[in-house]
């Protein structure tokens, strides 16, 4: 077990910085998720930690040891790949044993560790098979097992669930969470899926264009996004953004965008042009709120997403209500403490 520290880690091709001075520390036993849209540098960051990609700047430490210039095999890490990368000509058993064999582990111990990992992942009955005889979920289990037997200092996951169907993905997500509780080793997990990030991470690190945007506990990031990008990226359906200004109207502090106004908490003082952020799930039906016409309804069963025209376009997540119809005019309000304000550069205005 070990912690991982990144200090100013960078990767650039010529003048193009793919990863730009990332500072990040992962504690012993922590589950850290790197999340962001494709091309944000999350995978490159992970691959630099693995040693598969050379960093062009900064220092990477695992358990206090500087590994920046070491080969992957000298870092005592284990990695799970998106395409599983199982050795096709080797049986499941040989796949699991390979890393230990390479390190000269004794036969008896290999046998014992492989058996234990296979039991944990419930793949004992697959040990004699070849990878091509496995389903996607089974291959993913074997890939997890191959990492597990190594008992590494840190586990690295590179979008391990993106090739699975939706149902299997949820299942394997639980499996990985369970595994983390069982082994208690630090895990660094890359995904573009914010649901995976929210549900798996002890902390999440949101990245964009090679730059870390925010690091924090999932709900902290959800409640207090550092900027407009993070606010839009975390949460589903996506947060509504409205361009406007803070104004005093009838002695009350409001956010106004043309006809549309919404009251702010007195502490949210600020001036000039700002962007308002409201999560769809934080708008509620309220007779004293603003009026809005329902333009479109997506019924998802238990909940519905309404697209509203309130002078500005807004999306709202409400509980199922079969009486609401397109064309209706309804009233909505949002609790002031659930509102977010961003300045011109997209930075959150802290209250």
């Amino acid at each position: 077990m070990a912690s991982v520290t990144l200090q100013g880690v960078s990767k650039s091709f010529g003048s193009m910085a793919v990863v730009d001075a990332v500072d990040l520390s992962i504690d012993e036993g922590e589950f850290m998720v790197l999340v962001g849209p494709s091309g944000c540098g999350k995978s490159t960051t992970l691959r630099m930690i693995a040693g598969l990609e050379e960093s062009t700047g900064g220092t990477i430490r695992i358990g206090g040891r500087d590994v920046t210039r070491l080969e992957p095999r000298e870092r005592n890490i284990a990695m799970v790949f998106q395409n599983y990368a199982l050795y096709p000509h080797k049986s499941v058993r040989e796949n699991l044993a390979f890393g230990l064999k390479m390190r000269g582990t004794g036969k008896a111990e290999i046998e014992q560790r492989v058996t234990r990992a296979a039991q944990m992942l419930k793949i004992e009955n697959l040990l004699a098979r070849k990878p091509r005889q496995l389903s996607g979920g089974q291959m993913q289990r074997v890939a997890l097992g191959r990492a597990l037997v190594r008992e590494p200092d840190v586990f690295l996951f590179d979008e391990p669930l993106s090739n699975l169907d939706a149902k299997m993905r949820v299942h394997m997500r639980d499996e990985i969470a369970r595994l983390h509780r069982a082994v208690g080793t630090a895990m660094i997990y890359v995904t573009h899926d914010q649901v995976e990030a929210m549900t798996l991470g002890d902390r999440i690190c949101v990245m964009r264009d090679g730059v870390v945007q925010q690091v924090g506990r999932p709900l902290e990031v959800y409640d207090r996004p550092a900027n407009r990008f993070v606010a839009g990226f975390i949460g589903s359906p996506e947060m509504n953004f409205v361009e406007g200004a803070i104004e005093q109207r009838d002695g009350r502090l409001v956010f106004a965008a043309g006809e549309f106004t919404i009251p702010l908490a007195p502490a949210m003082a600020g001036t000039g042009k700002v962007t308002l952020g409201i999560r769809p799930e934080h708008l509620e039906r309220d007779p004293s709120g603003f009026a809005a016409r329902v333009v479109h309804i997506e019924r998802m069963g238990d909940e519905s997403v309404l697209t509203l025209d309130a002078g500005v376009a807004l999306r709202v997540l409400i509980d199922r209500d079969d009486d609401v119809a397109e064309g209706d005019t309804l009233r909505f309000a949002a609790p002031p403490h659930r509102l977010h304000l961003f300045d011109k550069e997209g930075k959150t205005l802290r209250i």
């Binding site: 693995a50 040693g51 598969l52 080969e71 992957p72 095999r73 890490i77 284990a78 990695m79 790949f81 998106q82 395409n83 990368a85 199982l86 050795y87 096709p88 000509h89 080797k90 390979f98 890393g99 390479m102 390190r103 091509r132 191959r146 190594r150």
Partner: protein, 289 residues
């Protein structure tokens, strides 16, 4: 399902079959027929002798020597072609400046006509003015009688063949190398594999399908190879490089023992068929599901 293109398929299929029967099946059957007859020349009226030609050939020590020579030639030249072919492909698969140019140059020998290669080798190894001969002599190795001694002649033929046909293996292996998923190498590197282990546990197993086909094709070609040996040594000296195809040719066209020549050719064909069948049993071209 009938369609208006049916006639195209039928025409192409049957005309292909007819041409194959005429130009491949015909000569094969003719050779079989000849091998059962005695004819002292192509003009004389052939006389049916049953398996007498085979009996005559099988007890002839020359036949077994030719067989041994053929096996030696085929096995050593294939072995060297495959080993060198893989080595060159591994080098060419790296990124380096002028990569395309070097890759193109590396395939050049394969594009040369065999006659050109044979003449070049003869010229290089000429006993008095050959470039290699002179160089070796001046370096103090003495004059090496490339084509005059049995073993040097055998090795010279093998070397020329390897030089000529290794690019074929290189091209195939290079294509194979480019289909190996990079993630396999990365997984193995994380698992602790060094360069040798990577080659042994990732590259070689991934090349298996390509190598199976390459060894099969090269095996068939090298066992039947006629031109390069004939051009370089005509089977000499003292039959040291005479293998079954050359023996069959000499029997039929120099000694005018047409029946005997046909029997040698048929036996050669039979043995190759058996070896290929066993090979395909051991290394099926299609992976079992």
């Amino acid at each position: 399902m009938p369609s208006r293109y049916d006639w195209v398929i039928w025409t192409v299929f049957w005309s292909g079959l007819a041409l194959t029967a005429l130009f491949v099946g015909g000569p094969v059957l003719d050779a079989l027929w000849l091998s059962l007859h005695q004819a002292s020349s192509f003009i004389a009226e052939p006389r049916f002798v049953g398996l007498a030609n085979y009996g005559r050939v099988v007890v002839d020590p020359e036949f077994w020597r030719a067989m041994g020579n053929g096996l030696f030639y085929a096995l050593t030249s294939i072995g060297l072609q495959v080993v060198l072919g893989i080595a060159f492909a591994l080098v060419l698969n790296q990124t380096f400046p002028a990569q395309r140019l070097v890759r193109g140059l590396a395939t050049l020998p394969y594009l040369l006509p065999t006659v050109v290669v044979a003449l070049t080798f003869q010229w290089l190894s000429d006993g008095s003015v050959g470039l290699v001969t002179v160089l070796m002599r001046d370096l103090g190795f003495g004059t090496i009688p490339w084509f005059e001694q049995p073993w040097t002649a055998r090795m010279s033929v093998v070397l020329a063949s390897v030089w000529l046909w290794t690019p074929f293996v290189t091209i195939c292996v290079l294509a194979g190398l480019q289909t190996i998923p990079p993630a396999l190498y990365e997984a193995a590197r994380v698992d602790g594999a060094g360069p040798v282990a990577l080659f042994w546990h990732v590259t070689l197993p991934q090349l298996k399908p390509v190598l199976t086909v390459v060894v099969l094709l090269r095996g068939i070609w090298m066992f039947n190879k006629f031109d390069i040996i004939w051009l370089l040594t005509k089977g000499g000296p003292l039959g040291a490089t005479e293998h079954l195809p050359i023996m069959a040719y000499k029997r039929a066209f120099s000694l005018f023992d047409v029946g005997g020549g046909a029997a040698v050719a048929t036996l050669s064909f039979l043995m190759l068929s058996i070896v290929v069948t066993i090979y395909l049993r051991l290394f099926p071209l299609e992976e079992k599901r």
